[in-house]
């Protein structure tokens, strides 16, 4: 089977089978990352552009390594230059397309920017985070990591904690987890829980300890200090007391609970250092798995050459 989509903008673009296809394909790519020579010739001659309108280390590097391990040519653009000069997003993108970019990985502070590009371009567009909307490859790598440890996704209780309101990671994760049959609890200060959450089929908690009972997975979110003023909670110290994951809180969850964080971590705020580095933590596995999942997405979306007719005379192997 194959993906029916040209672009990956939102987890909602996928159906359950497509989601599984991406995870299964990533299993195979994980093996490539474990080889001495971590490179396969699959995307030779394809061009991938990392178009980042927001700072990023992990996601950008992860996509870069994924593309390079597939032998694609990769260009990194931190797009402040064209923004400063007043070029519109579409013009920047059209120029990249004029240089025959096959896949464009976009991160943008405005929700909907990647969707706009996807509509206007023949290149495949991958959303690497748009505003508070979605970050689909993060959700995919989270699911991949959970599945690797728990052997299943169905019937798990996953607690997502922190600033749900501003978190694209949480939005993508919630859609993905619901799709595969996990039950999701969210917990955070009332000011950080979006109103429309009732329509997402999740349980809402305001007391962390309560939410943790019977939890299989805890997904801690980064407190995005740079993204908003501190008007949503009185002090960082209070936030940390109420919503920081400590060893004591960890003991409220199941014994084999998995602790995750999309990074970068604010140590001592949303997660205590001993928990982040502890045995339950899968945080560094998430980073490793991120490369494999992004290789799978690049491979599957690069799919059929979109503008070329398919040769009916092809000889089978």
């Amino acid at each position: 089977m194959t993906l029916k989509i040209k672009d990956l903008i939102s987890i909602k673009d996928l159906d359950r089978d497509e989601l599984r296809l991406i995870l299964d394909t990533a299993e195979s790519f994980k093996e490539v990352g474990a080889r001495d020579i971590k490179k396969v010739p699959t995307l030779r001659g394809k061009t991938v552009v990392n178009l980042f309108f927001e700072p990023s280390t992990r996601t950008r590097t992860s996509f870069e390594l994924a593309a390079k391990r597939l032998s694609a040519d990769l260009v990194n653009i931190s797009a402040d230059s064209s923004m400063v000069k007043g070029e519109t997003l579409l013009d920047t993108a059209r120029n990249l397309e004029a240089m025959q970019a096959d896949l464009i990985v976009v991160r943008h502070p405005c929700a909907g920017a990647p969707a706009l590009l996807a509509q206007k371009m023949t290149s495949a567009v991958i959303n690497a985070g748009d505003g508070a909307h979605e970050h689909p490859t993060q959700a995919l790598l989270d699911l991949f990591t959970i599945r690797a440890r728990k052997k299943t996704l169905e019937g798990l209780t996953v607690v997502i904690v922190g600033d749900i309101l501003h978190s694209r990671v949480a939005r993508s994760a919630i859609h993905a987890l619901k799709m595969v049959g996990s039950s999701v609890r969210v917990v955070g200060p009332p000011t950080m829980i979006p109103r429309e959450i009732m329509n997402w089929g999740v349980e809402v908690f305001y007391q962390y300890d309560e939410a943790l009972k019977g939890a299989d997975v805890i997904m801690t979110l980064r407190l995005q200090l740079e993204r908003q003023g501190r008007s949503l909670f009185p002090t960082i110290r209070e936030y940390s007391n109420l919503y920081g994951l400590t060893a004591r809180r960890l003991s409220m969850a199941k014994d084999d609970v998995l602790v995750m964080h999309p990074g970068p971590i604010n140590r001592g705020i949303e997660i205590a250092p001993d928990v982040a580095d502890g045995l339950s933590s899968a945080i560094l596995s998430q980073t490793t798995n991120g490369v494999a999942v992004r290789m799978a997405v690049l491979y599957l979306l690069s799919g059929v050459a979109k503008h070329e007719p398919v040769d009916p005379q092809r000889t089978p192997h």
């Binding site: 790519f29 396969v40 092809r314």
Partner: protein, 182 residues
């Protein structure tokens, strides 16, 4: 479903062919210590295990068996309408310095073998690569030849050769069809 199917090898004949190939392997390679099998997914992996099992019986030597998925090395990836499924390559031993016997079910254009050799060499530097196939059906498009052949089968280019194996829940058999839909 089965239109125009013709069985060319049955279970007994497959087993005889594999036994003969196993003996040829021992003849060609004096001392089996440096030998290893690598099967090409999916059929080749089962055949590699069967050959290793026979060598264990004949010579009492247990040889390592690996599995190769060549999807990422194909030369026709972007000519296909559907993106092929990527499966895992699993080679749990160092191939450097080894005589590696690549195993596949059907040798046809030779393109799969080209891909397999390229992939194998990314894993190390084997001393030698030999090729064993159950069926050689001709129509080569690359200068590639097998060292061990279970059966040479003259075919027309538009016919299809399919190998069914018990490991996949099928009855062992090799069939030719000239049903384009298959």
């Amino acid at each position: 479903m089965k239109r125009n199917e013709r069985i060319v090898l049955d279970s007994l004949e497959i087993n005889r062919a594999l036994s003969r190939v196993a003996h040829e392997v021992t003849e060609r390679n004096q001392g089996l210590s440096d030998l290893a099998f690598v099967g090409i997914r999916t059929g080749g992996v089962h055949l590699a295990h069967r050959l290793a099992g026979r060598l264990k019986k004949i010579e009492g030597v247990v040889l390592p068996v690996g599995a190769l998925d060549i999807t990422l090395y194909r030369d026709d990836l972007y000519k296909k309408r559907e993106q092929p499924t990527v499966r895992k390559t699993e080679i749990g031993f160092d191939i450097t310095g080894k005589k590696v016997i690549l195993v596949d079910d059907v040798l046809f254009t030779g393109r799969t073998i080209r891909a397999a050799m390229d992939e194998l060499i990314d894993f190390g530097r084997p001393r030698e690569i030999q090729l064993a196939v159950l069926i050689d059906r001709g129509h080569r498009e690359l200068p590639i030849r097998a060292h061990y052949v279970g059966k040479s089968l003259p075919t027309a280019a538009d016919e299809k050769v399919k190998v069914f194996l018990s490991e996949e829940g099928e009855e062992d058999r090799v069939v030719i069809t000239n049903d384009a839909e298959n």
